[in-house]
Symmetry: C2
């Protein structure tokens, strides 16, 4: 990795941490410099405007939440089934839970997109690209469920993560059991 790219990632990770811990109003170039422990002015050098910064954060969030090649290789060897779909959903929820800061940062950005029309456009494009990608992936993998069902899983898993990462209403039920109950109810027969 080029030195510049490594530093860019460090700055983006600091931005994600600031978003998660301070909310979107706390997200400034200066707060990122302080969080990353770099000279004041560094973040502005890499991300020239707030829009460029937000675009950089989205890019980094996508990388940090994306499936590992090991995850994909393991699942790709399995035959398409409801159980395989449930496995993918469990993987996604595990990644979002483990990358707690990234998931919280994304929720912050979604709420900010309700306040700032220029962010709403970026956010909508990012969300819809991810949504279309999920539909295409599901179809290519020969899994049950189309646009309608994938949308339902987006809603349910977002709400589940928001609950589990903040104040869980039903903490005694394991997260994987919730995912399985959603798949049992919402995924059509293969």
């Amino acid at each position: 990795m080029a030195k510049n790219e490594a530093r860019r990632n460090i700055l983006a990770d600091a931005g994600i941490a600031v978003l998660a811990s301070e909310g979107s109003r706390g997200l400034t170039h200066r707060a990122i410099d302080e969080r990353a422990g770099v000279p004041i002015g560094t973040a502005s050098n890499y991300f020239r405007s707030r829009d460029a910064l937000i675009a950089g954060l989205f890019e980094r969030i996508g990388v940090r939440l994306g499936p590992t090649s090991e995850d994909l290789a393991t699942r790709a060897a399995e035959k398409p089934s409801r159980a395989l779909f449930a496995g993918y959903m469990r993987d996604i929820v595990r990644r979002l839970s483990t990358e707690r800061e990234v998931t919280l940062a994304l929720f912050e950005l979604r709420l900010e997109s309700a306040r700032r029309p220029e962010l709403a456009e970026t956010m909508a494009a990012w969300q819809r690209a991810a949504f279309e990608g999920d539909i295409a992936f599901n179809q290519a993998a020969g899994l049950p469920g189309g646009r309608r069902e994938i949308a339902l899983f987006h809603y349910a898993l977002d709400g589940l993560l928001l609950d589990r990462l903040t104040s869980p209403i039903d903490p005694d039920t394991p997260t994987d059991d919730v995912v399985d109950a959603l798949v049992n109810g919402l995924l059509p027969e293969i």
Copy 2:
């Protein structure tokens, strides 16, 4: 309504509006005074600390999101059925969508509860009381679905509202159709 109570509600509503438009970091007594157009110091007079303010906001949020007596009277005349459960869910989603600011303010508070342990306790108590109330209401009304299913509806409807109030991934599907699809999949037979 006593004059004091009316003014307290105006201040709480201003606090909800500040939360929705500025995020939790923007929520100060001064911002509330400015939003409500009252002399600086008024909000501090009614809510002596940040904790008292947050408690006052929760109280007001509960009132603004609660079912109207008309809603309840209409539904109470119906026989328990899956369609009646779906009707209640549609009512909830309609109220949360109409009271957009209140719902966004609640999301802000949930994210802040992930950062502030003292708020996390208040939030957890509030959320769990609402959850237990929903379970008890459902049982008393003779409707299908217990703790497990009510939790699934909490997750799915929270995620649906977060999506619809920010950047919808699938805006062409009417919200009521999403609610019906969730009920069809997640509610057990009566």
